[in-house]
């Protein structure tokens, strides 16, 4: 957008950047898991280690090593770095790293539970803004529900203290929810409160279907499997704002649905971006830790990881017989979260179909009217016509699946 009255300076917002229509920087975005440790112990979490895990802490990247990565990321054109974890603020050097990154000209997207936000950190975030809204996950509106999930006494009060500091200092943030048995009755209260937050442009997003532990911790996986939302229930929850959901799905399906063939990657993982774990290992995405798909930055560079290693991984093909007979031919691919990262967390492979994700995609497709009961996505031959009919339905003709 050109400033009115001044043609020389052009204001850019993250969504509207007119830059790089033809040539993009090598690296656009980077996720850094600053630590796998967390001061909460959430029942559903796919990546937390205890806050006082001294072995993990010792293995973590040093301050200097993270600064080197941030410098290289900036030199490769990166604009936004996501600081995530674990709980990133748990690192003793968090403020130092944050300031360093901002001085490199990077925008910071901070994922946090807000429990460790102190008055001085809130002041810093106010004075030197991250330039991206902080994303705070809220586990419940009541102490009993919140701490049933975090399993950490005092975390409810700490989180509210942190959130109030952000509000007080006018640091832009949004809140996100997780749908779990202890907080299922609090959705309305959460959304009502979220709507009072100045920077919330929309209803809060929810994590509904949980990934297994990304280090494949079987003990934790047993718990996660037990509390996972049933596919039909989760789909119904996501579609509770029926008209808006249908509108979004029509737009989505008209663009992204269709069989992927034997390609392993149908997402954008590793394209102009990536993730670095707490120990300096580059991954194409945050959940993909299969040994064949990771690159040790301690023995290489971010440039090499992005420009040579990522394309090699992305070129890999699926060869699991079930994948080839089902997923490769399934037109629900756009609705299904089956990917190498999920296969890794569930099965320790890159291409074994994940039944839970398959059930979710089929439940969603049935709810949208794209599939009949008992029909499977890979059996459907007239999928193009179905998608066309679905996407072209008018607003008024949009089916109301729950009759509400």
């Amino acid at each position: 957008m050109v400033e009115q009255g001044n043609p020389y300076i052009v204001r850019l917002s993250s969504q509207e950047s007119p830059l790089w229509e033809t040539t993009r920087p090598v690296l656009m975005e980077l996720d850094i898991e600053l630590t796998e440790r967390c001061n909460n112990n959430c029942i559903h979490c796919c990546i937390n280690l205890p806050a006082d895990d001294s072995i993990a802490k010792k293995r973590e990247l040093s301050t200097a090593a993270i600064k080197d990565i941030l410098k290289e990321a900036a030199s490769l054109g990166c604009l936004t770095v996501r600081f995530t974890g674990g709980e990133p603020i748990l690192r003793d050097d968090f403020e130092e790293l944050y300031l360093f990154a901002r001085k490199c000209g990077l925008k910071i997207l901070l994922y946090t539970n807000a429990t460790l936000i102190t008055p001085s950190l809130a002041e810093l975030l106010s004075r030197i803004p991250p330039l991206e809204k902080i994303e705070v996950t809220v586990y419940g509106m009541k102490k009993i529900s919140y701490e049933a999930i975090t399993r950490t006494p005092g975390s409810f009060e700490a989180a509210w203290r942190g959130v109030n500091l952000l509000l007080e200092k006018k640091v832009p943030f949004v809140v996100k929810g997780v749908l779990l048995p202890p907080n299922k009755g609090e959705v309305e209260a959460f959304e009502n409160w979220a709507s009072t937050i100045l920077w919330m442009d929309d209803q809060p997003s929810y994590s509904v279907f949980f990934d297994l532990h990304s280090r494949r911790d079987e003990k934790k996986n047993k718990t996660i499997r037990k509390i996972r939302t049933a596919p039909e229930e989760g789909v119904k929850f996501l579609a509770r704002r029926n008209m808006q959901h249908m509108k979004e799905m029509k737009r989505f399906c008209s663009r992204f649905i269709g069989p992927p063939g034997n390609n392993l990657f149908s997402c954008g993982a590793g394209m102009n971006g990536g993730c670095i774990d707490a120990y300096g290992v580059f991954q194409l995405c945050i959940s993909l830790r299969h040994p064949q798909t990771v690159y040790d930055l301690n023995r290489g560079s971010l440039l090499e990881a992005i420009s040579r290693f990522s394309p090699e991984v992305r070129a890999m093909k699926a060869d699991h017989p079930d994948y080839l007979s089902r997923c490769a031919q399934c037109f629900l691919k756009g609705l299904c979260e089956q990917c190498p990262g999920k296969s890794w967390t569930e099965h320790g492979t890159l291409d074994t179909p994940v039944e839970y994700l398959c059930e979710i995609a089929h439940a969603e497709a049935r709810q949208l009217g794209l599939l009949e009961e008992k029909e499977m996505g890979w059996e459907v031959k007239d999928w193009r016509e179905r998608i066309r009919n679905f996407s072209e339905e008018t607003e008024n003709g949009c089916r109301n699946v729950y009759g509400s």
Binding site: P7, Y8, I9, R11, L12, L19, W20, K107, S126, P129
Partner: protein, 107 residues
């Protein structure tokens, strides 16, 4: 003073100007990207800036060592445009950048 609502800063051709320490100027794929470091530079929380070609030609010369009139002379020698027009461009951009605290006068 909010960026975007203040009155235009007085810009003097005898003064020197340089990028403020409150921003980071980056060159990414040939584009100059101005990233605010402190709050109060932009109107929104995620705002970045870039300059058009004319703006970049001016920006590259604002190093805190040359007076604005010397910058004007350089631009007039390089670009085939009436000196008056170049001066309007130069003053216009510098005023805007000073108002937004992206550029500061060297005292």
């Amino acid at each position: 003073m909010d960026a975007g609502t203040s009155t235009a800063a007085k810009v003097c051709l005898d003064s020197l100007y340089m990028p403020s320490e409150d921003i980071v100027a980056r060159n990414i794929e040939g584009e100059l990207i101005i990233v605010p470091l402190v709050s109060g530079i932009g109107d929104m929380e995620d705002e970045l800036y870039t300059l058009n070609e004319t703006g970049k030609a001016i920006w590259d010369r604002l190093d805190g060592k040359k007076k604005l009139k010397d910058v004007l002379a350089e631009l007039s020698a390089e670009f085939e445009a009436p000196a008056g027009e170049i001066e309007i461009d130069l003053i216009g951009l510098v005023e805007e950048l000073v108002r937004r605290k992206i550029l500061v006068a060297v005292i």
